[in-house]
Subunit: 143 residues, 2 copies
DNA sequence: GTGCGTGCAAAGTATTTGCATGATG
DNA sequence: CATCATGCAAATACTTTGCACGCAC
């Protein structure tokens, strides 16, 4: 539960308050793997805390993003998906079935650094998404 | 005006109809460089066609995306930005001032192909965005 | 003429905000 | 006990849809 600690620390450092809601949301999120939207978080946390509101979910997720523990992503459409930022990785997304594979490639990371440097950018973060048909969807599409 | 031709062809092939509105929107867009949102398109095209509606803009942009001539992107927030898909390129985005630099890197493209192949993906498209501080914003942030 | 396209207004989503109340440091 | 957080409802921002009328084929 080290990430939960980090979040509590972040909250303290900002002079904010630690609440049951924030703990519940953060700890559920850190237990979870993959990409989730606000509604999923709301639904799940509601089981442990029936009174919780949507706004609290959004407000807490925003804090987690500011704490650098979570990334907010938009794959294609407008809805935000939140992702655990433990280890860095990029995404391979199947346009057929929506499956998301995470991967990491050190060579690409290095090349990104050199591109940023060429433009005088101080690189803070990046996103890379590869869209295509996965091995399962490929045959279906070929018909 | 070759892209406008392609769009007209796409419309014809689908059994749809060519209209003044579609032409006006598409040709304004192809004349334009960079990333624009629906409202900008609406405002600009309105000058030539005061009666035009927002829905027609959205409907036409969707057609252009389906025709493969335009990409719809979401950089960070929910609003869609449309981009001319003539030459492929990726983006370097300044988190300080919002400036967007387009670039292309052949080595990265090749590595992306190999990543996709490793997962058995048939690559259709990709996006890569580097976020950081541009040379102008870097000093301000350092203070 | 038939069917698709248009503009308008209304409805949808996803998210944010104002406010009175409640909890935390 | 001052301040921040919460839940609700209302507001917002962006986008889509239903519908009556009009235009392209």
């Amino acid at each position: 539960m080290e990430k939960l600690e980090k979040f509590r620390e972040f909250i303290r450092d900002r002079g904010l308050k630690s609440t049951r809601q924030r703990d519940e949301i953060a700890s559920w999120f850190f237990r979870h793997r993959g990409h989730v939207n606000a509604e999923q978080i709301y639904r799940e946390v509601k089981e442990a805390m029936p009174g919780i509101g949507f706004s609290t979910v959004y407000r807490t997720m925003k804090l987690l993003v500011e704490a650098g523990l979570v990334a907010e992503r938009h794959f294609g459409d407008a809805e935000a998906l939140y992702e655990n930022l433990s280890a860095h990785h990029d995404h391979c997304i199947c346009t057929g079935c929506g499956k998301i594979i995470e991967f990491e490639n050190q060579q690409i990371e290095q090349l990104q650094d050199s591109v940023a440097e060429r433009f005088g950018f101080l690189l803070q973060s990046h996103r890379m998404e590869l869209y295509g048909l996965c091995s399962a969807c490929r045959p279906k599409a070929a018909q």
